[in-house]
């Protein structure tokens, strides 16, 4: 009985995994094809030659832009975790008048589409003299309603008694925040970190606008340069670029997942 249940579970898991992973496998396969093979609709490349990868690396300073992407994503992630966890803490553990209103004001910032504020923000960044600086790529994203919201939801699951006990013990807010709240919320912090890293890594329009120079550019812009506008797209090379740029993100996801599991194991404090 158990064996049957387990077996059918595996079948379901494998089927779903195949279905969900198909687009990624497909992209991977395409990255080995010539333009001709791609356009003919082949599924399996004739050979797994690395020509497309070599072409992608030759066409662009990919390595340099990957380093930039890495730095920008890490800085943004750390900045966002600090700024958002501070805000979320205030919303959960400090009772002050107007808290509800202020929180909603925060959440409401999520409702403004970023595409809509891009141009005014571009002007601001230009006035600040941040064009081509990491500051323009990172600082505007330190504060996000999304991150605050995510952490608030988690902080709310921390038992109130813990807070009261710590106050009885004479701990101030900052100590409680650093010594209790942050360690207990490791999983959420990692989740936010993963999310933030990946969205920063994958953003395109903003980095394109605030940088003009190859030296401060991120990998997604590099990717776009493989994709011609009035021409037949060389899909193989484009996909090779996509795969190169996606490897770090999949790695972060994989490692983050592992860490999440570990965090859950020893985070038995509830």
């Amino acid at each position: 009985m158990m064996a049957i249940k387990r077996g059918s579970l595996y079948v379901v898991l494998i089927l779903i995994a195949l279905l969900l992973f198909f687009p990624i496998i497909y992209a991977f396969l395409v990255s080995f094809m010539s333009t001709k093979e791609v356009l003919m609709g082949h599924l399996i490349p004739k050979s797994f030659s690395l020509t497309n990868y070599i072409d992608a690396f030759q066409a662009l300073p990919l390595l340099h832009s990957l380093i930039n992407s890495m730095l920008v994503s890490i800085i943004t992630t750390i900045g966002q975790i600090i700024v958002c966890s501070l805000a979320a803490y205030a919303f959960v553990f400090i009772e002050f008048r107007g808290r509800q209103f202020l929180f909603f004001l925060f959440v409401s910032t999520m409702m403004i589409p970023w595409e809509a504020s891009i141009i005014p923000n571009f002007v601001t960044v230009q006035k600040l003299g941040w064009i081509n600086h990491y500051a323009a790529l990172t600082i505007p994203f330190f504060a996000t309603a999304f991150g605050t919201f995510l952490l608030r939801q988690h902080f709310k699951t921390i038992p109130k008694e813990l807070h009261e006990a710590s106050r009885m013990a004479g701990l101030g807010h900052l100590t409680f925040f650093l010594k209790v709240v942050m360690p207990v919320s490791k999983t959420s912090l990692v989740t936010l970190g993963i999310y933030c890293f990946l969205t920063t890594w994958n953003s395109y329009l903003w980095p394109l606008l605030v940088t003009t120079d190859e030296r401060s550019r991120t990998a997604q812009i590099g990717l776009r340069q493989l994709h011609a506008q009035e021409n037949v797209t060389q899909w193989g090379v484009v996909m090779a670029g996509v795969v190169i740029v996606a490897i770090p993100t999949l790695l972060v996801l994989f490692l983050g997942q592992k860490h999440l599991q570990k965090g859950l194991m020893d985070g038995a404090v509830k």
Binding site: I24, F106, P113, L250, L253
Partner: protein
């Protein structure tokens, strides 16, 4: 507000002091502001300022450099509500939200429940299920463009295998929005899955153990323990997916360009076109204001009616 007695709003930090100065009375809000300061500064510069700028511009005609020239009052808004195109774009946006949000949440809940089973190698499946989070919108759209290709796409080759006639997914007004929605759901799954799985694993196992002793079945446990305990997470995912769905842009740009017949011309895409291609900032700003209000209303409703059902510890 400053005159308010803090005791009325909750616990007081100073317990043994008979006399409290103004400084001490407003202590909570001071601390709160310190904690909130970084966010407040950044929001003011990068969110509220553009928002006010946008609201201001929405009352003007703008020139080709995007600068306001003629004050027109509510004309931009009136014109928008009289334009069939804009109304259609609102409709498409709501349809899109309807197609994507419930499906994303339900499917990822299902996946999370599956992946929460204690099986050998489950970590592998978890990573696979979360993998779409690691793929950028641009890369995913390009891949799906191939999958939807009417002649050589995998999807059509599959359905023609079953004898169903080929569908022109992205160029047929009946299918385009659905096709974009499928792509979007796929894109959403990784993240929703990860968050819900995290929520599931946070649930105290002893709750299940005690109910198992009472002989409760799987679905009973699901309904009585899992879902209520998961509700803060589900609420979060619902709100975020909702807002994200309202703001979908990348996959539209790459898959359909708003067509065919404007059936996929979602609001943010229309805004992008007006702001970036047409450089009509007055109109684009008015559209932003309307979109903002729409999302605000929907989210308010959600907080009012749905968050009540959320079970916080």
């Amino acid at each position: 507000m400053a005159m308010e007695n803090p005791t009325s709003t909750g616990k007081v930090p100073s317990l043994n002091m008979p006399y409290r100065t103004f400084w001490e009375k407003t202590r909570p809000i001071q601390v709160a502001i310190l904690f909130l300061l970084p966010s407040l500064i950044l929001f003011s510069v990068f969110v509220f300022y553009p928002l006010f700028r946008t609201i201001y511009l929405s009352f003007f005609l703008t020139n080709q450099k995007g600068l306001p020239t003629v004050f027109v009052g509510f004309d931009n808004f009136i014109q928008l509500f009289q334009s069939a195109d804009f109304l259609q774009s609102i409709e498409a946006t709501f349809l899109f939200v309807l197609y994507t949000v419930p499906a994303s949440v339900v499917i990822s809940l299902f996946l999370a429940l599956l992946a929460n089973e204690k099986l050998k190698g489950i970590h592998f499946f978890r990573t696979i299920f979360a993998s779409s989070l690691g793929v950028s919108v641009a890369a995913a759209s390009v891949t799906w463009l191939f999958i939807f290709n009417p002649t050589m796409g995998v999807l059509n080759r599959m359905i023609s295998f079953f004898g169903i006639p080929e569908i022109n997914w992205l160029a047929d007004p009946h299918w385009a929005l659905l096709a974009v929605s499928i792509t979007t759901i796929w894109l959403n799954l990784g993240f929703s899955f990860l968050i819900i799985l995290g929520g599931l694993q946070n649930i105290d196992q002893s709750l299940y153990e005690s109910s198992s002793i009472d002989g409760a079945g799987y679905f009973y446990q699901l309904r009585r323990i899992t879902i209520p305990m998961l509700s803060p997470t589900l609420f979060f995912i619902m709100t975020v997916s909702l807002i994200n769905a309202f703001q979908t842009f990348g996959q539209i740009d790459l898959l359909t360009g708003g067509g065919p017949g404007q059936t996929t011309n979602l609001m943010v895409y229309a805004i992008y076109k007006d702001a970036f291609v047409n450089f009509n900032f007055g109109k684009a700003s008015a559209e932003v204001v309307i979109l903002f209000l729409l999302i605000l209303i929907v989210t308010l409703l959600q907080f009012k009616f749905v968050e009540k059902k959320v079970h916080y510890q």
